[in-house]
């Protein structure tokens, strides 16, 4: 339709555009610009060209953040998406499942910082409950300095993440499974297929679409993860749980390297977008072959 008046359109659209441009688009353009400068927050910036980018690529700590985040993403794909799918499969086959659906989703509701502070208390090696439980079971040899040991710190973070978000993916998959048409499933059942094979051979392929979105959320969300890492270890011990976001925040807000930090942020953002794009491409290409 044609608008009744120009002023009307302006009144409708302008507030959203203004706030959004002020707080997102302008700073985004500014961050790109800043990534080509060298600036310590004081005085006038100097031109760095691609200097910040080449430095980022040769920065061994920054490069290591990508392997840490890759481990985190793989672990959360298993502990969150895969586990969430399994839970949804079980739950949707039960009649009285309201309690489970509610209980499993509870952690999703809480601020990540609250969760991280709670789990820091659980993992604390001197007073924490985890080591106390192990002791009371006579398993003292499995006691660990969970967040201070390079072998366990990253895994501990993945574990907490799984504790929170398995319920989230369970909810997504449960909703998808409940929307499935019943006739196909009924006829398979009449053919004598077992519940397990109905789930893996019929239901999972039918919710393919949702699964790929879930995987995508898990990957892009993982790349942006900050709260848990910041509170539980802040990248320590000695940078072994450092992820791109914690490192970026340190570069800017501790070392005062605005240009360098901006370059890091652009690299991470581009990496995220590229992964999302590639994932979409791959998904489109393979869908044809699998479609029923």
């Amino acid at each position: 339709m044609k608008p009744t008046s120009r002023l009307g359109v302006f009144i409708l659209v302008a507030p959203a555009v203004l706030i959004y441009c002020f707080a997102v688009i302008l700073p985004f353009i500014g961050t790109i610009a800043l990534s080509f400068l060298r600036w310590n927050g004081f005085g006038s910036p100097t031109w760095a060209g691609l200097g910040n980018y080449s430095r980022a690529l040769s920065d061994s700590i920054f490069r290591s953040t990508f392997s840490h985040v890759a481990i985190y993403i793989v672990a959360t794909l298993i502990l969150e998406v895969l586990l969430g799918l399994a839970l949804a499969g079980f739950i949707s086959s039960l009649k009285h499942s309201a309690f489970y659906r509610i209980a499993l989703f509870v952690p999703v509701m809480l601020p990540m910082v609250v969760i991280a502070v709670l789990w820091r208390a659980i993992f604390n090696s001197d007073y924490g409950i985890l080591n106390a439980i192990l002791a009371s079971l006579g398993l003292t040899k499995f006691q660990h300095i969970w967040l201070g040991d390079t072998k366990t710190a990253l895994f501990a973070i993945c574990f907490v993440s799984g504790w929170v978000f398995s319920g989230f993916y369970m909810a997504i998959f449960t909703a998808a499974l409940n929307r499935l048409p019943t006739d196909v499933i009924e006829s398979a059942r009449l053919d004598g297929s077992g519940e397990m094979s109905i789930f893996t051979k019929i239901k999972i392929p039918m919710i393919r679409q949702v699964t790929s979105v879930a995987i995508l959320i898990c990957i892009t969300g993982g790349l942006q993860g900050f709260d848990l890492f910041y509170v539980l270890t802040d990248g320590g011990p000695y940078h072994t749980t450092e992820v791109p976001t914690t490192f970026m925040v340190k570069s800017v807000f501790r070392d005062g390297e605005f240009g360098y930090g901006s370059a890091l942020s652009i690299i991470v953002s581009v990496a995220g977008l590229a992964m999302a794009y590639l994932f979409n491409l791959w998904q489109k290409r393979t869908r044809v072959d699998v479609e029923y």
């Binding site: 959203a16 706030i19 959004y20 659906r101 209980a103 990540m112 609250v114 942006q224 709260d227 953002s269």
Partner: protein, 271 residues
């Protein structure tokens, strides 16, 4: 039958695993610090609620909660109002530049927070917005707008266009149409958007950490973090504080779980 029982046991155990840490946090706030560190699993002997009063008043949890309520309410209201107006215009009105505006907002769906927060920090610093309530209300609103517009626009797109044509024939202006026709019928979309933006604002941490140093303006995530460093080993106080910020959320969730789960999952899947 046996299979079903087995499934119940399996999922029941997992649900317990999801709730146990929260339950432990809750009852530990009734124990003394010595009991917590020596027998962390034991149940409390008595129930003394004064620790909650202490951490609410002395520890400042009440103040953090109020700040969170203000930041969340203000930004959610702003998102709902601005995004529903823009979403309506972008869905139903053809005006020059409408495609460009829509593309601009779509870009916002793709941009992660890292791609702009460094310069946003400088901008807010320069304008003296840091350590005011605006420092969180503005970015929370701005970050919520793209997804809100997208959801609302798709919802309006799905409505029959005769509805709007009829309103036009009755002589209603666009703004009147928005107010009297749109606002009531897009309520389902607004609920989804509202839940999604409110939870996002309630839980946001990174920007709150960077933009608000003033103790009296901190929200729950950053406030609780400084609480936890102030009372690093006073577990009783810490657990009381954690309990007080989680219990209302859980209560709210149990009451509205259908809407909330739908809101969060739809928001995430479509975003």
């Amino acid at each position: 039958m046996i299979r079903r029982r087995f499934l119940h046991a399996l999922i029941g155990a997992y649900s317990l695993f999801a709730l146990l840490p929260l339950f432990w946090m809750f009852y530990s706030s009734f124990k003394s610090n010595a009991e917590i560190s020596q027998t962390p699993l034991s149940l409390p002997h008595s129930f003394d609620f004064r620790v909650f009063v202490d951490s609410w008043r002395v520890g400042g949890v009440g103040k953090y909660a109020l700040n969170s309520v203000i930041a969340t309410t203000a930004s959610t209201v702003l998102v709902l109002v601005t995004a529903s107006m823009a979403g309506f215009a972008l869905s139903r009105l053809r005006f020059p530049g409408s495609r460009a505006v829509f593309l601009l907002f779509t870009l916002g769906l793709l941009l992660p927070i890292q791609s702009y927060f460094i310069m946003q920090n400088q901008e807010f610093d320069y304008l003296n917005l840091k350590d005011t309530r605006w420092a969180l209300i503005i970015p929370y609103t701005a970050m919520g707008i793209p997804l809100a517009i997208w959801l609302i626009k798709s919802y309006i797109d799905s409505l029959p266009k005769e509805l709007f044509e009829a309103a036009r024939i009755d002589g209603s202006s666009d703004i009147q149409t928005y107010r009297f026709l749109m606002f009531p019928i897009i309520r389902p979309a607004l609920v989804t958007v509202g839940i999604f933006s409110a939870l996002g604002a309630w839980n946001e941490f990174l920007l709150a950490l960077l933009y608000v140093q003033d103790e009296s303006l901190k929200t729950i995530p950053t406030g609780l973090l400084s609480f936890s460093s102030k009372y690093a080993t006073d577990y009783r106080m810490l657990f009381a504080a954690l309990t007080m910020v989680t219990v209302p959320m859980i209560a709210l969730y149990v009451g509205f779980n259908r809407q909330i789960v739908a809101g969060i999952t739809q928001g995430a899947v479509k975003g």
